[in-house]
């Protein structure tokens, strides 16, 4: 399923911060994890993750460091900061509100039936 652009933009930050809160990671692994957690439903354009990570770094939500494992190639790891954790908590609060509200809305508004069935 392809999410709309706005939904991707809104959810990308909490997703990335949430994954980093679980431990330091690098771009490719973050993408894999998003893919797995969503059961393959959410697929980002790979290249666009990096500008997002750089933005989070600029505003101070994450830090980065290059690491070279012995015999491997240099790789940039990202780590969440205290400020990033605070932001994650705040985003989580907001998303919970939205999700709960939506759940209520789905209950009072079932999927629309075609107009002719409704007798209009």
């Amino acid at each position: 399923m392809r999410l709309t652009k706005d939904l991707v933009a809104a959810s990308a930050t909490p997703l990335v911060l949430g994954i980093l809160a679980d431990g330091d990671s690098y771009g490719y692994a973050i993408l894999k994890q998003v893919n797995e957690l969503s059961g393959g439903e959410i697929e980002w354009t790979d290249g666009l993750l990096y500008p997002l990570l750089h933005r989070l770094e600029r505003v101070g939500h994450v830090e980065s460091a290059w690491e070279t494992p012995p015999g491997g190639r240099r790789r940039k790891y990202y780590r969440i900061t205290g400020q990033g954790r605070a932001e994650l908590a705040e985003q989580r609060r907001q998303w919970t509100t939205v999700v709960e509200t939506l759940r209520g809305v789905w209950e009072i508004a079932p999927l629309p039936r075609p107009a002719w069935e409704a007798g209009l």
Binding site: G27, T45, D46, P51, H54, E57
Partner: protein, 452 residues
């Protein structure tokens, strides 16, 4: 998998990387990061049984089109673009045609500014006070027009811009001010400032809420000032040579030079300097940050020396009427040094020696200003407020508040407590305060002080 296959893949990756690196928005470190990603993806796909060349193609496709990716990098790292000019434009035909029309349109706007300055005199409309009040309008309206065309600003923003210019025009002229009143001078100084920030709205193409675009306008302002001074110097040489060459053959050109060449040149140069900044960003290194690097340590030393001398000599500050203005100028200078250091800084770099020097500069300026303010408060309570003193004092407080909070943020940054972006955001947000203050002086001061 054979060796030749492997080297073929390496070749393909190297080719892709060279292509990526040709993008000015993507720096070496970012290319490393993207390449690492590409390789991880290829490994995953080949492990799943794909041929290497197929895996490479899919990995590149998954990366997204390079135009999209570099546009996102450009959004995030707008300071890098500064040397390279504007977002990678869609390579469609109209854009190319536009860039060819760039110079004629800029020249047209420059001529418009020159004519606007000359027209009232030709119709015999006043001198002196009239020009002092309206000069900013005459030259900055064509400049705003240039950016409206250049940025394809939306009609809604054009309406806002027009409204603000009309507001300035009405209030500059509607008050009954004497040509030698203090309020005329204040309007002459503050209206151009207010309108310059209106030009800023056109410059950022209406995206005036974006902190990064505001920072671009701050960069633009510094470069523009430098280009304008350069043009003025060149114009001075041109004028000197013209006058002397003609006087050598006995032709007197004083009149032409004084009433045509200098005013028209000065007005037109406002637009031409803006066009130069836009067109030549990619050609030369930006100047304002370079000058900042040179003068920040020098000013810091000078201010510290003053503080030491003040303490050692025990001599109080002589408060005469120009002292407030002098210290406003000092604060503006320090703020300028701070702004242009910020604008050219890599926001991710760690705090270094230069940042400490800068912090020292800001703190010494604050100390000196506090001393002056104490000295001056007594004087104002003794002799009461005049428009000039109130304006100078207000400016002092506006700048003082900015610098004090900047010093605090800077302090946090030097101690690695706060990201640099916070300081940047503070400065770009504060632009609104300048705008508000300038409009207050133009619109509210004359009636408050009884049109003195």
């Amino acid at each position: 998998m054979t060796v030749s296959n492997d080297s073929e893949l390496e070749e393909q990756i190297a080719g892709w990387r060279a292509y990526v690196e040709r993008r000015p928005e993507i720096h070496g470190g970012d290319a490393d990061e993207l390449e690492d990603h590409l390789r991880s993806r290829i490994t995953e796909l080949t492990d799943a049984g794909l041929q290497e060349d197929e895996a490479f193609l899919i990995a590149v496709k998954r990366m997204g089109t390079l135009d999209d990716v570099s546009r996102e990098f450009a959004r995030e790292h707008s300071e890098r673009l500064w040397k390279q000019l504007v977002l990678p434009a869609e390579p469609d035909a109209p854009t190319v045609a536009r860039s060819r029309r760039e110079l004629p349109v800029a020249l047209f706007c420059a001529v418009l500014a020159a004519l606007a300055v000359k027209a009232p005199a030709l119709f015999g409309v006043g001198l002196g006070g009239f020009y002092a009040r309206n000069l900013g309008l005459f030259v900055l309206a064509p400049l705003a027009g240039y950016f409206v065309w250049q940025r394809r600003v939306s009609p809604r923003v054009v309406a806002v811009l027009t409204g603000l210019f009309v507001l300035g025009a009405v209030f500059a002229n509607v008050y009954p001010l004497d040509d030698d009143s203090q309020s005329v001078v204040l309007t002459a100084l503050h209206l151009p400032l207010a309108l310059w920030l209106v030009v800023g709205v056109a410059y950022v193409g209406g995206e005036w809420l974006s902190a990064q675009r505001r920072m671009d306008f701050i960069r633009f302002t510094g470069e523009w000032a430098i280009y304008y001074v350069l043009l003025a110097l060149g114009g001075g040489v041109l004028t000197g040579i013209t006058v002397n060459v003609f006087s050598a053959i006995g032709v007197n050109t004083d009149d032409f030079v004084g009433s045509w060449l200098v005013p028209c040149g000065a007005a037109g140069a406002v637009v031409v300097a803006a066009w130069l900044v836009e067109a030549k960003q990619s050609v030369i290194e930006n100047m304002a940050p370079v000058l900042t690097r040179v003068f920040t340590p020098l000013f810091a030393v000078a201010l510290l020396a003053f503080l030491v001398a003040f303490v050692v000599s025990g001599h109080g500050i002589d408060v005469d009427r120009d002292v407030l203005i002098l210290f406003d100028v000092l604060l503006v200078l320090v703020l300028g040094l701070l702004l242009y250091a910020i604008s050219a800084r890599d926001p991710l770099a760690r705090a270094g020696l230069f940042d400490r020097v800068q912090l020292g500069l800001v703190i010494s300026a604050l100390l000196i200003d506090a001393l002056v303010l104490v000295a001056i408060t007594g004087r104002i309570t003794e002799f009461g407020f005049t428009p000039n003193k109130t304006a100078a004092l207000g400016e002092n407080l506006v700048l003082l508040a900015n610098l004090a909070w900047s010093a605090w943020l800077f302090f946090g940054f030097v101690r690695n407590r706060a990201p640099f972006a916070r300081l940047e955001r503070w400065q770009t947000g504060y632009v609104l305060v300048y705008a508000a203050w300038a409009w207050v002086v133009v619109l509210v001061f004359p009636p408050i002080f009884g049109f003195r």
